[in-house]
Symmetry: C2
Subunit: 102 residues, 2 copies
């Protein structure tokens, strides 16, 4: 009954508590990457990566750019909204360094 949580916060945590979403954003922080590169670097399946990238694009967090080369190159990058998640990611890095063991 006492659902007193801010709906914006709930949406944010809903986004980032979806499997892989955080890692995809983290992986794009240094710069644009293509599909196969993200796929192999974080170990996600192509099926789910495709799904996540569409979600993130529709949320305005990720941008998709097509380069009609051969074979086609498609680059995914963070929008301003996506890059603004960097402080959060840095906090996560800090926490993991301070509180988790190697």
């Amino acid at each position: 009954m006492g659902k007193s949580i801010c709906p914006r916060f709930e949406k944010a945590i809903g986004l980032l508590s979806q499997r892989w979403t955080g890692l995809i954003v983290y992986q794009l922080l240094p710069g644009p990457q293509r599909f196969c590169s993200i796929e192999s670097s974080i170990g996600i399946s192509g099926r789910v990566l495709s799904e996540r990238l569409k979600d993130l694009e529709s949320e305005g967090i990720v941008n998709r750019e097509v380069f009609p080369e051969t074979p086609v190159r498609i680059e995914y990058s963070l929008t301003d909204k996506g890059r603004s998640l960097e402080p959060l990611m840095r906090e996560m890095e800090k926490w993991s360094q301070n509180w988790l063991e190697a």
Copy 2:
């Protein structure tokens, strides 16, 4: 192949990208809460809440204390490790305020 992500970071993001984990921690930030209170405040099912609280306890993030009253009262609270997630939660709050619509 290029799995260059720090294993500690991967573990952290693995924890927080499990559904409900973030909301449970967030809900415990102000202080101890009992099972039914967490359940109703975030809208999680009892089955999964029970599962998550066990996980979080075994990760040293949440503490479980039994008060043998009638009916029994069980309080869940954050450990130091759990409370250390507060900066991350605050960043999430900030981001949601700045970038998501109501």
